[in-house]
């Protein structure tokens, strides 16, 4: 395994100053290019055996086992990546299905305070069976009612403005 000394991209530059002193500004050692990590300098026993005694059945078996382990690791890594991507893609696809592009329409009439929105939100998200009344603390209460019309969920919001009493 090789590691690249890519901190600065300056390879082969002498750290010694022209006057003979050491450049103290450099905080990394001056390995040039690619260097081997400790422990990876020599080939493994199975590799050496494979190189020298390829015809030996035992070494061939060892090499096959090593290939198998490598294959399992590679497949496991790719599978993990695919699963993560698959989860994200599935979540986005489900969200896209719940909020289909172009099918959501909204109309608002300010005079009556009735807002009607149509969409497919209810096809997969949890649904509320009855009207829901909410208030933002401003005295305006919004009652939300959900109906299914022709397979589409129609959400009707009715705003009730509390009468203002000046004391």
């Amino acid at each position: 395994m090789l590691a690249h000394d890519g901190c600065t991209g300056q390879t082969g530059r002498d750290t010694r100053e022209p006057n003979g002193g050491i450049n103290m500004d450099r905080d990394h050692d001056s390995h040039q290019g690619q260097v081997r990590l400790p422990g990876f300098g020599a080939a493994g026993p199975a590799d050496r055996a494979a190189q020298t005694h390829d015809a030996d059945p035992a070494s061939r078996a060892a090499r096959t086992r090593n290939d198998g382990v490598r294959r399992v690791r590679r497949m496991s890594n790719w599978t993990a990546a695919a699963l993560l991507v698959g989860t994200g893609a599935t979540a986005v696809a489900l969200a896209h299905n719940a909020f289909p592009v172009g099918t959501s329409t909204a109309s608002s009439t300010t005079g009556t305070g009735v807002v009607t929105a149509t969409g497919a939100h209810g096809t997969s998200a949890p649904q509320v069976g009855g009207p829901v009344a909410t208030s933002g603390g401003s005295g305006v209460t919004v009652t939300t009612t959900t109906h299914v019309v022709n397979g589409k969920t129609v959400v009707t919001q009715v705003r009730h403005v509390a009468a203002y009493h000046d004391n």
Partner: protein
Amino acid sequence: MASLTAVRAGGALNVAAAAAGSQGLWFVSRGSGLVLLVLLSTVTVLGVAARMGSAPRHWPRFVFSELHRTLALFCVAFLLLHVVTAILDPFVSIGWAATVLPFTSSYRTLAIGLGTLAVDLGCAVVITSLARGRIGLRTWRTVHWLAYLAWPVAFVHTLTAGNDLRIWWVDLIELGSAAAVATAVVARLIWGFSGGHPVSGMASESSASDRLTSGAGRRG
């Protein structure tokens, strides 16, 4: 053309907002559940294949066994994601107790209870597999048969817990998973009734691969 692009962009924004908003957990939970079904089916098929000693040509037989074990551990991770996102989701109230005790959820008691039952069975299989060296091969194998019960329970959970069966690709995932597991089980039954010799082991090969893996792990 420009208006169409604007509508599409608006729809994409809606999707992004939903994913990032309060419903994001809901969608991630359902997405991870579908992925989990595929993963569980793959693990089941690989387990059957490893038991029968099936492997592609030029592949060591322990590859399937090792993949079976690794993907089973992936199942645990995705199960955690699926359960945690379902519980943290503000839309439904499932409760932490319902993750262990079946049929205690107030939301879709039967469907969520089946999922909990599948989790319990799967945990028993995974824990006994991790402790196989201590509990013995016979006990491990007996508990491992529960996997054949865990999969259909989980499958029914996916059919009943969500409202996604109207989506064609969800149907495709469900049907594909069921077909793969059914084929594997039928092959296993035929192999068993025809006097197929158990792979001397799946156990011994696994332990051999354990040694290899640990040895390789020390090297690499």
